[in-house]
Structures are given as structure tokens and as C-alpha cells.
């Protein structure tokens, strides 16, 4: 758009060189990515078109046969798998917008605070992300415990009987744990994006008389939209692959959370319990496709708003 850009257009060879150099910035990444991600994935996905069979008592070793798309056909018709999928989709519709709104709000509020104040709160807010998962589980089991935990007692003060270990509350229990663990992560990415924006822009808007809320909504949010798309994608992917939290709460409400409660749990069960790695891989691929479609919808939706 500037004069300079127009002037450089005739230099075609120079532009090509520049593009090539630009592309070369991605080379180290692509090389490593190919070796450490693409190769293992292809090796893994190959499993999905085979089937493993035993015979007799099962002692004589196993034979591997080419199965074509049979594992996929079975997966597409697997009621338990799709029930689980439906479950996590419903859950995602609630939890994903919640974590994103909270993370974005937090980043904006942090950005609006005095710098020194922000620095202190930033550490506090990131602490849950630093706590390892196994310890976070112990922490929250204590908080939730109907016998010894503080929350049940707190609600009892108001005459409410709240038990986080019951089947009806299990979604709330898992959702809260997910929000708590992810909050700092989302906040840091969005806050970092806000810091990357040249701040003269806000100053200019303020001089034009824009209110703080309006600056936040009309200037800051559009600037972090790219990051917001990323955190939303990660959030939807993570939620649809829900595994850790239901496994944790399985012990507490085993009558509700079965071994195939979510697609990721079913895949784990097939791979490491049932021992059918072929089928588990096929299910992984199906799950990836569904998650991919969901991500694409989110991506389109959020980017459309931009234009």
C-alpha cells in the first residue's frame, strides 16, 4: 500500500529471492517436524489398516493381516464411540467458550492494570499451570471431598447440599478442574499477544475519546484475534480429546464414568487394555477427523468475523 511497495514490484527476481529466503526460515522447523512428527504418525497410522488375530488358546502367537478399511467401518458403526463423542461435544460447547472468555477477560484486565501490579498477578495466575497434573488431582480431590473438603462445608452454610463426587455433579467437577488448569495458559498467550501490539495505537484512540471498554473491545480484541483463534483451537481439541479428568473421576463415580466414557478413553482402552492397537489407531484417525472438522468450523467462524 505504501509508495515503496509499488516501486519494488517490477523487481521480480528480487522478490522471488526474498520469498525463498522467507521460506528458508521455516526449514529447521520443517526438517525436525518431518522426522519427529510426520514419520512416527505415518508409522502409527499404518496400523489402522491391519488386523491382528490369535488362534486356539491364544498362546501360539498372532498373525497380522491386511484389513483394508474394515477397522474404520467398525469404528463408524460403533455406538459406544459415538455416544462418547456426543458427550464431549456437548461438554465442549460449554467449557470452550467459558475458558476462552475467562482467559481473554483476564488478559485484558491484566493489560489494564498498573505494570507492577500486573507482574505480580501474572505469576499468581500462572501458578496452577505450573502445578503438575498428578498433584493438581490430589489438590482438587481434597477440595471436592464431601467429608473433609472445604467446598461442601461452605455451601452447607447456606443450607445447600453440594457433593462434587456424585454423578450429577461430575461434569461441573471436571469442568472446573479444566478451567482452573488452563486459565493461566490462555491468559499468558493472550496477554503476550497484547504486549506485542504497539501501544501507541491505544494512546491514539484514547485521545480520540474512546472509553476503556470500547478500546478493549474494538482495538485490543481484534489485535489478539489470531491468538484467540489458536487458544480456541487448542481448547476445542483438548476438550474433544478429554481424558485425564474423566479417568480421575472414574474412581469416584464408577457407575457413571465407564471405560468408554469419552472417545479418548475408549481409544486408550482399546490400545492398552483390550490390546487392539489396530482398531485404536483407526478410532484415533476418526477422532482426529471429527476434531479437525470442529476446528475448521471454529477457524472459519472466527476468521470470518475479522474480515
Amino acid at each position: 500500500m505504501s509508495v515503496r511497495a509499488q516501486r519494488s514490484r517490477p523487481l521480480f527476481g528480487w522478490r522471488t529471492m526474498q520469498s525463498l529466503k522467507g521460506a528458508s526460515f521455516t526449514l529447521p522447523f520443517l526438517a525436525g517436524f518431518a522426522l519427529f512428527v510426520i514419520v512416527p504418525v505415518l508409522m502409527g497410522v499404518r496400523e489402522s489398516v491391519y488386523t491382528t488375530q490369535s488362534s486356539g488358546l491364544g498362546f501360539g502367537g498372532q498373525t497380522v493381516e491386511f484389513a483394508g478399511l474394515r477397522n474404520f467401518a467398525k469404528g463408524l458403526a460403533d455406538g459406544a464411540f459415538w455416544t462418547g463423542m456426543f458427550r464431549v461435544l456437548l461438554y465442549a460447547i460449554v467449557v470452550v467458550p467459558l475458558t476462552q472468555a475467562l482467559g481473554l477477560g483476564l488478559a485484558l484486565v491484566l493489560d489494564a492494570a498498573r505494570r507492577r501490579t500486573a507482574a505480580r498477578f501474572r505469576i499468581a495466575l500462572l501458578l496452577p499451570y505450573m502445578v503438575p497434573g498428578i498433584v493438581a488431582a490430589m489438590i482438587w480431590i481434597y477440595q471436592y471431598s464431601p467429608t473433609v473438603g472445604p467446598i461442601t462445608g461452605f455451601f452447607a452454610l447456606f443450607g445447600l447440599d453440594v457433593n462434587f463426587f456424585t454423578s450429577s455433579m461430575v461434569w461441573v467437577s471436571m469442568g472446573n478442574l479444566a478451567v482452573w488448569s488452563a486459565l493461566g495458559f490462555t491468559m499468558l498467550i493472550l496477554y503476550g499477544a497484547l504486549q506485542s501490539v504497539p501501544h501507541e495505537i491505544f494512546e491514539a484512540a484514547r485521545i480520540d475519546g474512546a472509553s476503556e471498554l470500547r478500546i478493549a473491545w474494538s482495538i485490543k480484541v481484534p489485535f489478539v484475534r489470531g491468538s484467540l483463534v489458536l487458544t480456541s483451537l487448542l481448547s476445542i481439541i483438548g476438550t474433544l480429546q478429554l481424558f485425564d479428568q474423566p479417568v480421575l473421576f472414574r474412581a469416584v463415580t464408577p457407575e457413571t464414568i465407564t471405560r468408554d466414557f469419552t472417545p479418548a478413553m475408549m481409544i486408550y482402552d482399546q490400545a492398552f487394555q483390550v490390546g487392539n492397537l489396530n482398531y485404536a489407531t483407526a478410532l484415533s484417525v476418526i477422532l482426529a477427523v471429527v476434531v479437525g472438522i470442529a476446528s475448521a468450523i471454529i477457524y472459519r467462524f472466527m476468521n470470518k468475523e475479522e474480515s
Binding site: Q53, S54, S55, G56, L57, G58, F59, G61, Q62, I141, Y142, S145, P146, T147, V148, F165, L248, R250, A251, V252, T253, P254, E255, T258, R259, D269, F272, Q273, V274, G275, N276
Partner: protein, 444 residues
């Protein structure tokens, strides 16, 4: 699921965990000779286990005690970690060890082609082990595992509670249910059935003499609903129906121990290694407990104790099974047991695989926990003497156990009956065996 598996792993743990020293070099050399060629120097075998405290010191004591075999102990993070790493090593075909602490039931090891047949090597040293340990190491009459002791179950009761309400400690399961009915009106539960842990149902079935899996010729006979299993379910069903038990989860430890400690839980079955933890965490009720044999079924011919284990095994591809057996045989010696003394706690491990463990039981009985320590020690030894050891879990245990957990969780919550739960598991087993191409029949 990890917990129940881990619990059974204990006996396997005892085998590799026991430390020791010296002696029995005669055994070692004869074992070395069991291989076809006499090796020039010492044979080195790699051992995988997760005994962080005494695994390595035991191996070192063994290395110092003889010259034929060198044991290298490779510490694993947990039993699940051992399983993961072993699967991977097998998959990659490199770095497979010679002795692995059992992380799954023996039949699973055989079906996966992991455990080698070591009948020839084990048969020479059967005198060193108790019957339960020998039974547990076999599949279809062949030794695929190293003789590994099972932890015999016994009943601990809160004697103060029983005395307070003047209830007799039950000797049979019928009396157990009756005791539950007597205690119920006082707000006391006879025991705790954790919704995530169906092991008490498996223990009862094993004790009743049920055979969920058996081998007949070239096929498996599957039977989750025979009269023995029904008898086991009939013990628990009225307790659930009449609300005489609690359903505390093992996950919430503070709540669990608080409840155990409150006097509101009259009894629980347990095994020797749980006692330290109970003593540590039951602050108020310490000194109130007494040990008794597990209640028997009224029609039992001789008293038996349920108890299973995950035997250690020698992987396919290990070229020195004789050296491994020499090592595990040595672990039964007093010197070995002494070498495994834990430097932190000063205690030796309880050798559950040997014919007579009574010399070591004192270390197992914690202070200030039982009304009568000596009587408790005797009960623990008795439980070990009577332990069955073997309960065949079939070729697809890893597949059906989570299903049993699901069904058990529903049954304990009162959504379905135990009979329905067992029927559902049996259907699952059949479908899974069909999928895998394994031959079976289901007994009606």
C-alpha cells in the same frame, strides 16, 4: 484399575525385592550349567523392577555372594511404566531384560508371547517354595513364571466396635452378613466396598472355588455364572441391597482413613503390606483392631485364603533362564532376606513365597495397632499357609477387567444386580475372544 493391579503385584515385588546375600553358590553354578554351554565368565542378567528401596542392594549382595551370575537391577518408575517399557523393548526387538517383575497376570504374558516356558529350570527347586507360589507360576501345567508368593487375605475387625454392640466376629460369610445386619441399626457398616475396585468379588469367587476360565484341550471354558460365583455374589448382594456397607473411594484418602478410623466401619479384608499404612493413618483406632481368618463358605471342605499374584517372568529371548532361576532361588535364603533390609525403616520384607515365613512375621505386625500382636502375627502366617495362589484370569484379562470395573461400579451403586453384572462381563469376554480369534465355549 491401576490400584487393583498394583495390589496384586506385591508378591511379585517380594520376589525381586527381597535382598540377600551369599550362600547357595551351589545353586547358582548348577543353574549356570542348565544352559547348554558353560559360560567362561559370569553371566550378566538384567532385572527390571520398581523396588526403589532395596532392589539394587539385593542384587549387589547376590553379585558379591557368588561368581557365576551378575545381576544388573534396572529401576522402573512403576508397574505401569515397566509394562510400557517392556512392550516397547519387545516391539523394537532390542534391550529385552532377563527377569521382569510381574506387571500383569501370567496368562497375559503367555498370550502376548512375552514369557518363556521355564519348567525345566524351575522343577529342580520346587522345595524352596510354598504351594500357592508354585501354583501361581503355572499356566496349563507349565511354568511360565517364577514361583511367586501371593498375599494371603485376612480379616481385620475393629474389636472395640464389635464388643460395644456385643456382636460375634464372623467365621463364615453367612455370619458376616448377619453381623452386618446386627451392626447396621447402630449406624455401623460391616465393611467398605469401593466402587472402583471389584477385587473383593474376585477374591470371594476364588475362595468359593469358582473357575472363570479353564483350559479344556484346545479351547477356553468361560464361566462367570457358575454356582460358586453365584455363592460369592450372594454374600455381597444383601449387603448392598440392605445398605449395610459404605462406598468410600480409595481416591479420597483423608476421607477414607477418617472413616476407617471412626469406628463406623467394623471390618475389612486386607493383606500384610497394607498394615503399615493403616497403622500410620488410623490415629484414633490404633490398638482397637484384631486379626481373624477370612470368613469361610459354609460348605468349604478345608479353610482356604484368597490371594493372587502377578508372578515375575523370564522374557522370550533371554538366553540364561537358568541364571535367573539361580537368582530367584537365592532370594528365598535367610541371607537374601537379610540383605533386603530397608535402611530407612530397618525392616526386612515378608517372604511370601517360602514354605514357612513365620520367622519374619514380627516385622510385619505394626506397633500399637492390634489388640494382640502375637495373635495377629499368627493369623498372618496362617493366611499365608492357606493361600490358593492361582485364579485363572484367561487370555484377555486386560480387556475384561475394565468392563468388570464398570459393571461392579453399577452394581455397588444399586443400579443392577451382581448377577446381571457378571452376565454382562461374560458376554463381553465372549465377544472379545471372538474378535481375537481365540477358541472358547461358555458353560451354561
Amino acid at each position: 484399575m491401576i490400584r487393583s493391579r498394583a495390589r496384586w503385584a506385591t508378591a511379585g515385588l517380594a520376589v525381586t525385592a527381597l535382598a540377600g546375600l551369599s550362600a547357595c553358590s551351589a545353586d547358582a553354578s548348577s543353574a549356570g550349567a542348565a544352559g547348554d554351554t558353560e559360560p567362561a565368565g559370569p553371566v550378566t542378567i538384567e532385572v527390571w523392577g520398581w523396588n526403589a528401596e532395596t532392589g539394587e542392594q539385593t542384587a549387589e549382595a547376590f553379585n558379591a555372594a557368588q561368581d557365576d551370575v551378575t545381576v544388573k537391577y534396572v529401576l522402573q518408575a512403576s508397574n505401569v511404566a515397566t509394562q510400557t517399557n517392556f512392550r516397547n523393548a519387545t516391539e523394537a526387538g532390542s534391550g529385552v531384560p532377563c527377569l521382569v517383575q510381574g506387571f500383569a497376570p501370567l496368562t497375559t504374558m503367555v498370550v502376548n508371547g512375552w514369557a518363556q516356558d521355564i519348567t525345566e529350570q524351575v522343577e529342580g527347586s520346587v522345595d524352596l517354595y510354598n504351594e500357592g507360589a508354585l501354583a501361581a507360576a503355572q499356566v496349563d501345567g507349565r511354568y511360565y513364571g517364577l514361583p511367586s508368593g501371593s498375599d494371603g487375605q485376612f480379616l481385620i475387625v475393629n474389636q472395640k466396635t464389635f464388643d460395644k454392640y456385643d456382636v460375634e466376629v464372623p467365621a463364615t460369610w453367612d455370619e458376616f452378613v448377619e453381623a452386618g445386619r446386627e451392626l447396621g441399626p447402630h449406624g455401623v457398616d460391616i465393611t467398605n466396598l469401593a466402587g472402583e475396585d471389584p477385587s473383593i468379588l474376585m477374591n470371594l469367587a476364588q475362595q468359593a472355588g469358582a473357575e472363570w476360565f479353564a483350559i479344556e484341550g484346545d479351547q477356553w471354558v468361560v464361566n462367570f455364572t457358575d454356582e460358586k460365583t453365584v455363592a460369592a455374589a450372594d454374600v455381597l448382594q444383601p449387603l448392598i441391597d440392605e445398605d449395610l456397607v459404605s462406598n468410600q473411594t480409595f481416591m479420597d484418602k483423608p476421607a477414607l482413613y477418617k472413616y476407617f478410623d471412626s469406628g463406623k466401619m467394623a471390618s475389612t479384608t486386607t493383606q500384610w503390606w497394607s498394615l503399615t499404612g493403616l497403622q500410620t493413618n488410623l490415629a484414633d483406632s490404633g490398638g482397637d483392631w484384631s486379626a481373624h481368618p477370612v470368613p469361610q463358605f459354609a460348605d468349604a471342605t478345608a479353610p482356604v485364603t484368597p490371594g493372587r499374584t502377578l508372578p515375575s517372568f523370564v522374557p522370550e529371548g533371554c538366553e540364561n533362564p537358568g541364571a535367573v532361576v539361580a537368582y530367584t532361588d537365592w532370594l528365598t535364603t535367610p541371607e537374601a532376606i537379610e540383605a533386603g533390609r530397608n535402611a530407612e525403616t530397618g525392616a526386612v520384607s515378608f517372604p511370601v513365597q517360602v514354605p514357612d515365613a513365620s520367622d519374619y512375621v514380627d516385622a510385619v505386625v505394626p506397633e500399637d495397632f492390634f489388640v494382640d500382636d502375637k495373635a495377629a502375627g499368627e493369623q498372618i502366617v496362617t493366611a499365608q499357609d492357606r493361600v490358593i495362589g492361582k485364579f485363572e484370569l484367561g487370555p484377555n484379562y486386560d480387556a475384561w477387567f475394565p468392563e468388570l470395573q464398570d459393571q461392579w461400579g453399577k452394581a455397588v451403586a444399586g443400579d443392577i444386580t451382581l448377577q446381571e453384572a457378571l452376565t454382562a462381563v461374560q458376554e463381553f469376554v465372549a465377544a472379545d475372544l471372538d474378535d481375537k480369534g481365540i477358541s472358547y465355549t461358555v458353560t451354561e
